[in-house]
C-alpha cells in the first residue's frame, strides 16, 4: 500500500481521542467518529467534546493548536462514508466482540480497497475479531495496541493475523514508527500481547504478596518503585492511576483466555478488599480515591492511605526502610532477611520467571519483552535486563531452591547473561542458545551503540565528543541532568577546533531524559555565596564566547534536543545553524524564574529572531516586546511544535517524531547543510533604548499592581528590559551582538548579587519549584 495521508479513528474515548491527537500531532488529518447519543441535537457531540477536553487535559495530548485543527469530529451514522478517503481506519470502541464485528462489517461496505483496518483492543484475540469476516477484510486487518496516554507512551504493539497482508503490516509499522514516533513491537496473537500479559501478572502478584507479607501500601510502593527501576507510583499508586475497577475486568479476561497451565491462574485470586473498594466507589484517582486518597474534610488536606488488613483509611506514612538506604545492588535487596527483602524477591522472582516463560509463547525473543516493558510500563530496565543485573544463575538457583519451576529460557542462560557486547555490537541471547546482534531499524542511530564501539575524540567530566561517521561529530553532555558547567563550555570550545580540522559538521545531541536543564545552578549558587564574582563573570564570558563561536563556526552545527532544553540548553538551540528537534522538546529561557536574565546570548538571539520575523511590523519596538513577553515569564514550550511558534525553532527547523531516529535525522540534516555551507553574516540590531525600556517596564509595573508580579519580579524585569531595549543605545544606532552580550553579562551579574535572586536559586535547587518572592 502507498503512504498514509488520512486516518480515521472510530471511538472518541480517552484512547481513541488520544490516538487521533497523536496522528494530528504528526501533521496528518484525522477523522474522529463516535456514536450519536440518543436524542442528541448536536450529532457529533461525543467527538467534539473529546477534542475540547483534550485541549484542556494535562499532560496535553495535543502538541499544538494547529494539530487540534487537523482533527475533524463526526459520527458513525452520518459520516462513516468519509472513511472511504482514509488510508487507515483505527477502531477504538468498547471491548465487545459483537460491537466490534458489527462495526467492521459496516466499514467493509464503505472503506476503500487496500486501506488498513486495525483495532486498539487489549483483550480480544485477533482470530476472534476476524472470525466470520470476509477475506478482503482479513488481509487488511491487524491489531495496533497503543498505550495510555498515546502521545507520551512510546510503545505500539502490533499483532498481525496469518492472513494479514505483509505490506499492510509494513506500512502501518512504518507509519507508527516514523510519523507517530512509536517503537513497534511485533507480538503474537496471545492474550494481553506482551506488555499487559506480563504487567497484569506483575500487578496481581505485587498486590497479593504485599497483603500476604504484611506490608503497608507505602512500603510496597517504596520497594516496587525506583529501587527496581519501576516508576515511583510503585504498585498501588499505579493501580490508583489506571483504576481499580479495571483489574478484575482484565484479570477475568486473562483467566478466560490463558491456557490452564499458565502461572497466572495461581496468582489470580479474588481480593476481597479490592472488591469492597470498587463497590464503594473507591476506584482510584478517577473515583473517590483508591489505595491513597486525599481527605479534604474539615478544610484541611490530608493524604490518607488504606490499611490493607482492616480496609480503613489512615494518614499516609513515609515508610522507614533501612534496606533501601543501605542496599547497593538489587541482589542484596532481594537477599535482605526482612519482610521488605522477601517481598522484593517474591514479586520480582515470580515476575521475572513469568517473563522468561513468555519466550517463545508470546514473543519471539527477549528483546521485544524488554522493550515492551520499558516503553509500555516505563520500567527503567526490562525483565531480562533486570535478570542480568541480579544474575540469571542466582535467580534460577533460588527459584529451584524454593521449589518453583525454572523456565527453559532461564536455564538456557546458565553461566551466561541475556545480553552482551561483542566487538562493540550489542547482542542478545536467542532461543537457539546463540547470541544474535541487536539490529537497529534503518534510520535509527543510537549514540549508546556508537559509544560501545569507539573512543571519544575528546572528553572530560561533563561532556564528550564522538565521531558518528560520514564526517559528522557529535557533542554529548554527560553531566548530571546534563546541566551546563565550566567543563562543558571548555570542551565545546575545544570541540569547535577539532571539528573545524577534521569534520564536516557537528551535531549536539545526547540520550539523557533531557537535552539540558540549563546551567548548573548548584555550582553557580555556591560560587555566588562565596562572592567569587570574578570567577563567575569569567565563566559567563567563556560561555558567551563559545556560543558565539558555535554560531559563526565554519561548519554547520545542528542541535538535536529531546525533553527539556532550558536556559543555557535553549541558548544552544538558538546559536545552532539548524535544529532537528524531537517532537517532545520543552524549550525555553527560564532564567527570570530564578531571578536572572539569559546571558549566554539568549536575549540577543531572541531579539534577532523577532526582528527578522516577517510576522512582525517594522520598527525597533515590536521585537523587544515579544522577547520580553516570553523571557520575563520564563515560558517553556510544551512541544517542538510550540517551540516553533515561540521562534525558538526557526521555520526551517525540523521535527522528528521518533526519539530513536533523532540522531540519524540530525546527522542527515547536518550533512545536507554541510554542502556549500556558509556561516551567517554578523548580525546588527536596531533597538529602542531608554524609551523602549520605559515601555517594557510599564507592562511589568501593571502586572505588579495587579498582584501578578512580585517586587523582585520587577527588579528582574528591569534587568531584562535593560538588555532587550539595548541599554543606553540610541534609536538611530545599530548595536552589534557584543554590545547586547555585554548588557546580558552586566545585568546578570547585578541580579546575581541580590539576596532574593539567591533565595530563588536556592529554593529551585532544593525543591525543584520556583520561589515567588
Amino acid at each position: 500500500m502507498e503512504g498514509i495521508r488520512k486516518v480515521a479513528v472510530i471511538g472518541a474515548g480517552v484512547m481513541g481521542a488520544g490516538i487521533a491527537a497523536q496522528i494530528a500531532n504528526a501533521g496528518i488529518p484525522v477523522l474522529l467518529l463516535d456514536i450519536v447519543p440518543e436524542g442528541a441535537k448536536e450529532r457529533n457531540i461525543v467527538a467534539t467534546r473529546a477534542i475540547e477536553r483534550m485541549r484542556k487535559t494535562e499532560p496535553a495530548p495535543l502538541m499544538s493548536e494547529d494539530a487540534a485543527k487537523l482533527i475533524t469530529p463526526g459520527n458513525i451514522e452520518d459520516d462513516l462514508r468519509q472513511v472511504a478517503e482514509c488510508d487507515w481506519i483505527i477502531e477504538a470502541i468498547i471491548e465487545r466482540l459483537d460491537a466490534k464485528q458489527e462495526l467492521y462489517r459496516r466499514l467493509e461496505a464503505v472503506r476503500k480497497r487496500g486501506s488498513a483496518v486495525s483495532s486498539n483492543t487489549s483483550t480480544i484475540p485477533l482470530r476472534a475479531l476476524v472470525n466470520g469476516l470476509p477475506e478482503t477484510f482479513r488481509r487488511d486487518f491487524l491489531i495496533t495496541h497503543f498505550f495510555n496516554p498515546p502521545r507520551y507512551m512510546r510503545l505500539l504493539e502490533i499483532v498481525a493475523g496469518p492472513e494479514t497482508a505483509p505490506d499492510i503490516v509494513a506500512a502501518i509499522s512504518r507509519f507508527g514508527d516514523i510519523a507517530l514516533g512509536k517503537t513497534i513491537v511485533e507480538c503474537k496473537d496471545t492474550p494481553g500481547f506482551i506488555a499487559n500479559r506480563l504487567g497484569v501478572y506483575w500487578m496481581q502478584v505485587a498486590v497479593l504478596e504485599a497483603i500476604e507479607g504484611g506490608l503497608t501500601v507505602e512500603e510496597a510502593d517504596a520497594v516496587m518503585g525506583s529501587p527496581v527501576g519501576i516508576p515511583r507510583t510503585g504498585i498501588f499508586g499505579l493501580i490508583d492511576l489506571v483504576g481499580l475497577d479495571l483489574m478484575p475486568h482484565v484479570n477475568a479476561s486473562m483467566a478466560r483466555l490463558l491456557p490452564a497451565k499458565d502461572a497466572f491462574h495461581a496468582a489470580n485470586r479474588e481480593l476481597p478488599l479490592l472488591t469492597k473498594m470498587i463497590a464503594e466507589g473507591y476506584t482510584g484517582r478517577k473515583g473517590k480515591g483508591g489505595f491513597y486518597r486525599l481527605d479534604q474534610s474539615g478544610g484541611k488536606r490530608r493524604k490518607l492511605a488504606i490499611d490493607l488488613i482492616t480496609g480503613d483509611y489512615r494518614p499516609e506514612q513515609k515508610p522507614e526502610l533501612p534496606e533501601l538506604e543501605s542496599v547497593k545492588d538489587l541482589r542484596a535487596l532481594l537477599s535482605a532477611e526482612s519482610k521488605i527483602g522477601r517481598y522484593a524477591w517474591r514479586v520480582l522472582g515470580q515476575t521475572l520467571a513469568y517473563a522468561a516463560s513468555l519466550v517463545p509463547e508470546a514473543a519471539d525473543d527477549i528483546v521485544r519483552i524488554d522493550e515492551a516493558m520499558r516503553l509500555g510500563y516505563n520500567w527503567k530496565w526490562g525483565p531480562f535486563e533486570l535478570l542480568d543485573k541480579i544474575g540469571p544463575d542466582w535467580v534460577a538457583d533460588r527459584l529451584a531452591a524454593e521449589g518453583l519451576p525454572v523456565p527453559a529460557m532461564l536455564e538456557l542462560a546458565r553461566g551466561r547473561k541475556f545480553y552482551r557486547v561483542q566487538n562493540g555490537v550489542p547482542q542478545y541471547l536467542g532461543l537457539d542458545g546463540q547470541y544474535h546482534d541487536i539490529v537497529r531499524p534503518e534510520g535509527v542511530l543510537l549514540l549508546s551503540d556508537i559509544k560501545l564501539r569507539t573512543q571519544p575524540l575528546a572528553k572530560n567530566g561533563s561532556a564528550a565528543l564522538w565521531d558518528i561517521g560520514d564526517g559528522v561529530a557529535c557533542f554529548e553532555f554527560t553531566s548530571k541532568m546534563n546541566a551546563l558547567d565550566g567543563d562543558i563550555i571548555a570542551l565545546l570550545e575545544k570541540s569547535i577546533a577539532i571539528v573545524r580540522e577534521g569534520f564536516k559538521a557537528l551535531v549536539i545531541y545526547n540520550e539523557g531524559e533531557n537535552f539540558s536543564v540549563g546551567a548548573n545552578l548548584g555550582i553557580a549558587l555556591f560560587a555566588a555565596n562565596i562572592a567569587a564574582w570574578s570567577e563567575i563573570e569569567k565563566q559567563l564570558v567563556a560561555g558567551q564566547r563559545t556560543y558565539l563561536a558555535l554560531k559563526y563556526a565554519p561548519f554547520p552545527v545542528v542541535a538535536a534536543p529531546s525533553g527539556m532544553a532550558l536556559g543555557g540548553g535553549c541558548e544552544i538551540l538558538l546559536h545552532s545553524a539548524a535544529v532537528q528537534a524531537h517532537a517532545e522538546t520543552y524549550a525555553g529561557l527560564v532564567e527570570c524564574g530564578v531571578g536572572l536574565v539569559p546571558a549566554w546570548g539568549g536575549c540577543k538571539e531572541m531579539l534577532l529572531r523577532w526582528q527578522n520575523s516577517p510576522a512582525l511590523s517594522h520598527g525597533p519596538m515590536p521585537a523587544p516586546i515579544k522577547a520580553f513577553e516570553m523571557i520575563s515569564t520564563a515560558q517553556v514550550s510544551r512541544s517542538a511544535a510550540q517551540a516553533k511558534e515561540m521562534l525558538i525553532l526557526r521555520p526551517a527547523d525540523r521535527i522528528t517524531m521518533n526519539r530513536a531516529r533523532l540522531l540519524a535525522d540530525a546527522k542527515a540534516r547536518a550533512l545536507e547543510l554541510a554542502q556549500n555551507y556558509l556561516p551567517p553574516q554578523p548580525a546588527v540590531l536596531t533597538l529602542p533604548g531608554a524609551s523602549g525600556k520605559l515601555a517594557l517596564m510599564m507592562a511589568a509595573q501593571n502586572a505588579h499592581k495587579l498582584g501578578k508580579a512580585t517586587a523582585h519580579d520587577l527588579v528582574v524585569a528591569e534587568g531584562l528590559a535593560n538588555v532587550l531595549s539595548g541599554g543606553e543605545c540610541d534609536l538611530v544606532d545599530e548595536c552589534d551582538e557584543q554590545s547586547i552580550l555585554d548588557l546580558e553579562r552586566m545585568n546578570f551579574m547585578r541580579l546575581l548579587r541580590t539576596q532574593p535572586t539567591l533565595a530563588r536559586i536556592e529554593h529551585t535547587l532544593e525543591t525543584g519549584k520556583p520561589l515567588r518572592n
Binding site: F526, A527, N529, I530, A531, Q755, L758, I761, E766
Partner: protein, 596 residues
C-alpha cells in the same frame, strides 16, 4: 603573677565603635539598653572579677575540690564568692525577665563572661552550666517545668548541669545507654551512669538541676533515640522549696590537668525521678538549639585566658631585666634592659594582643547576631543572623580556644622558667586553657561541623553571611589609600579562603574524607581571615577617629599598629594553610594501619 584589668576601653570599642550597640537596643526587649547602663554593668563586672574572682584563682587551683561520701566541697572562698555573685544578680543577667532575669543581650553578657573566664575559669563553669540548663529548659520545657525550675536557676539559688557523656560515649552520643522509664504520673525513672559532669555536685547552691540525655524503652538505636530529661538533686516542693532527695549520687570526682576548682563528677542515676523536656527522641535537637550560645561561651574562655595571659606577660616583660637591646642599651641606668625590648618578646606580646583584641571583635559580631537571631521580628534578618551564627559557632569555639592556648603558652615562654614553676600562676593558665579545646565538642568535631555541615548547607548559603560582607568591604575600600596596606593582605587571604572553600566543596563531592582531611586547617584559615576582617574594620574605625581623638589617640594608634602586625605577621599563614589544604588527604591516609 596573674595580672588582670578588665579591658573596658577595648570592650567599649567593640560595643559602640566597631558595632553599633543600638542595633541590638532597637530589637524588642532592648529598650532600656543605654550605653550608660552597659557601662555600669561592665564596670561592676570588672570590679567583681578583679577583686573577688581573680584572688581565688590560684588558691582554688592549689586546693582543688574535695570529695567525700557523695559530697563535694569547693575550694575555700568559692562559696562566699558564689553568694556574692548571685546576690549581685550576675546569674540573672542574660535571662528572661518573665523568670526574674534582667533580659540583657548576649553582646553584653558575653563580655562579662569573658571577664569571668579570664579571672577564674573554674568558678565560671558553675554559673555557666546553669545558664546552659536554663537555655535548654526555656526553649523546650513545658510551662509547668519552666515555672518549677527557671526562677531558681535565674536567681542562682539552684544550679544546673548538662549530663551527656557516659564512660563509653563522648563524641558519639548515639551509643548512650542511660534509660528513662515512663511512670503513670507522667514522670520518668532515670537510671544510668554519667561521667565528666561539670558542676555535677558541689556546695554552692541548695539544689542542682541535671539535664540528662537518656533513652526511652522503645527508642530507636542511635542518635534518633535520645530524649532529654530534667532530673533535680532534690525534688522541688510545690512552694518552690527543696523536698526529698532524688536518686542521683555523685560517686567520684575526676583528678584533672586543669580547672581543678571545678568539680568534674561521675554521677549515678538510680531510678531518679525526672521529667521529659521537649519531644520523645528529639533530645539531641533540644540540646543543639543552645549549642551556638554554649560553644561561643567556650570560645570566650579561650579569649579570656588570652587576655589574662597577655596582661601577665606584659607586666613581666616590663619588669624582668635580661640582656640588652640588639641595637644598644635602652635603659643604661639599669643593669639590663627589660625584656620587652627584644623583638622575639615583642613578637609574643603582639601576637597575644592581636589574638585577644581580634577575637573580642569577632565575638562581638557573633554575639550581636545571636541577639538578632533571638530577638528580631523580620524573618529575613532572623534567617541571616541564624545562618551566620550557625556558620561562625564552630570557628569561634575552635579558633578561640586554640589561640587562647597558644597565648597562655606564649605567656609562659615570656616568663621562661618562672612561668614553668608554679609560683607565678602562669602554668595554671596553660593547664586551664587546655580543656577548652576538648569539651563542648572537640575542636576536631568543630572543624568537621564546619566543612561537613555548615559549608555545604543550602549550596553555601551560610557562607554567604560571611563572604558577602567581607567581599563588599574589600571592594569598597580597595581604592582607599589609608587602608590599602590592610585591605590588600585581607583581600589576598580572602582569595585563599575562597579557593580553599571551592576546593573542599569539589573534593568532598568525590570523597568525603577529603573534607575531613582539610577540616582543621580550613577552620583555622577561615578564622584567621575572619580576624583579619575584624582587624581591617577596627583599623578603619581607628583611622577615622584618630584625628579628633585627643586623650584617646594612644588607643587608636595602638589599634592601627596591632592591625598592621596582624596583617603582616599572622594573616600570611593563610597561604601555607591553603597549600596544605590543596595537597589533599593522600599523605595523611596512605600509611597502612599496621605501619603505625
Amino acid at each position: 603573677m596573674q595580672i588582670y584589668k578588665a579591658p573596658l576601653r577595648d570592650m567599649r570599642f567593640v560595643l559602640y565603635e566597631l558595632f553599633d550597640s543600638r542595633t541590638v537596643a532597637a530589637l524588642p526587649g532592648g529598650e532600656e539598653l543605654t550605653p550608660e547602663l552597659i557601662d555600669s554593668i561592665l564596670e561592676e563586672a570588672a570590679k567583681f572579677t578583679e577583686k573577688v574572682l581573680l584572688p581565688l584563682n590560684a588558691s582554688g587551683d592549689e586546693e582543688g575540690c574535695h570529695y567525700e561520701n557523695g559530697v563535694v566541697r569547693t575550694p575555700k572562698g568559692f562559696k562566699d564568692a558564689y553568694v556574692a555573685f548571685r546576690e549581685g544578680g550576675w546569674t540573672a543577667m542574660a535571662c528572661d525577665p518573665a523568670y526574674g532575669g534582667q533580659g540583657l543581650p548576649e553582646i553584653v553578657n558575653k563580655l562579662v563572661e569573658e571577664m569571668i573566664c579570664a579571672t577564674n575559669l573554674s568558678f565560671g563553669l558553675y554559673p555557666g552550666l546553669s545558664h546552659g540548663a536554663y537555655l535548654a529548659l526555656r526553649h523546650h520545657a513545658s510551662d509547668e517545668l519552666k515555672q518549677k525550675f527557671l526562677p531558681k536557676l535565674v536567681d542562682g539559688t539552684w544550679s544546673g548541669t548538662m549530663c551527656l557523656t557516659e564512660a563509653h560515649c563522648g563524641t558519639d552520643l548515639g551509643l548512650l545507654r542511660t534509660k528513662a522509664v515512663p511512670q503513670a504520673d507522667g514522670s520518668y525513672r532515670v537510671t544510668g551512669s554519667k561521667i565528666f559532669i561539670s558542676a555535677g555536685e558541689h556546695d554552692l547552691t541548695e539544689n542542682i538541676v541535671h539535664l540528662v540525655l537518656a533513652r526511652l524503652p522503645d527508642a530507636p538505636a542511635g542518635v534518633k533515640g535520645i530524649s532529654l530529661f530534667v532530673v533535680p538533686k532534690f525534688l522541688p516542693t510545690p512552694d518552690g522549696g527543696v523536698g526529698a532527695r532524688n536518686g542521683v549520687l555523685c560517686t567520684a570526682i575526676e583528678h584533672k590537668m586543669g580547672i581543678k576548682a571545678s568539680a568534674t563528677c561521675q554521677l549515678s542515676f538510680e531510678g531518679a525521678t525526672g521529667w521529659m523536656v521537649g519531644r520523645p527522641n528529639k533530645g539531641l535537637q533540644a540540646m543543639f538549639t543552645m549549642m551556638n550560645s554554649e560553644r561561643l561561651s567556650v570560645g570566650l574562655q579561650g579569649l579570656g585566658l588570652a587576655e589574662v595571659a597577655y596582661q601577665s606577660a606584659v607586666a613581666y616583660a616590663k619588669e624582668r631585666l635580661q640582656g640588652r637591646s640588639l641595637n644598644g642599651a635602652k635603659r643604661p641606668d639599669l643593669p639590663a634592659d627589660p625584656i620587652i625590648v627584644h623583638p622575639d618578646v615583642r613578637r609574643m606580646l603582639m601576637t597575644m594582643r592581636a589574638y585577644a583584641e581580634g577575637c573580642r571583635a569577632l565575638a562581638g559580631w557573633v554575639a550581636q547576631a545571636l541577639d538578632i537571631a533571638e530577638r528580631a521580628t523580620d524573618p529575613s534578618a532572623k534567617e541571616t543572623a541564624e545562618d551566620f551564627t550557625a556558620l561562625m559557632t564552630p570557628i569561634v569555639k575552635a579558633l578561640f580556644t586554640e589561640l587562647g592556648f597558644e597565648a597562655t603558652n606564649l605567656c609562659m615562654q615570656a616568663y621562661g622558667g618562672h612561668g614553668y614553676i608554679r609560683d607565678h600562676g602562669i602554668e595554671q593558665l596553660v593547664r586551664d586553657a587546655r580543656i577548652a579545646m576538648i569539651y563542648e565538642g572537640t575542636n576536631g568535631i568543630q572543624a568537621l561541623d564546619l566543612v561537613g555541615r555548615k559549608l555545604p548547607a543550602h549550596a553555601g548559603r551560610y557562607l554567604r553571611r560571611f563572604f558577602h560582607p567581607v567581599s563588599e568591604f574589600i571592594a569598597s575600600r580597595k581604592a582607599n589609600p589609608a587602608l590599602a596596606a590592610l585591605v590588600e593582605p585581607l583581600s589576598k587571604a580572602f582569595g585563599a579562603l575562597q579557593l580553599a572553600t571551592v576546593h573542599i566543596a569539589q573534593s568532598a563531592e568525590r570523597d568525603r574524607e577529603e573534607a575531613g582531611a582539610a577540616a582543621a586547617e580550613y577552620l583555622r584559615l577561615f578564622g584567621l581571615v575572619a580576624l583579619g576582617y575584624m582587624w581591617a574594620r577596627s583599623a578603619e574605625v581607628a583611622a577615622e577617629k584618630l584625628p579628633a581623638a585627643d586623650g584617646d589617640a594612644g588607643f587608636y594608634q595602638s589599634k592601627l599598629i596591632t592591625a598592621r602586625f596582624f596583617m603582616e605577621r599572622i594573616l600570611p599563614q593563610s597561604f601555607a594553610l591553603l597549600t596544605s589544604i590543596k595537597s589533599g588527604k593522600a599523605s595523611m591516609m596512605a600509611l597502612p594501619e599496621a605501619a603505625f
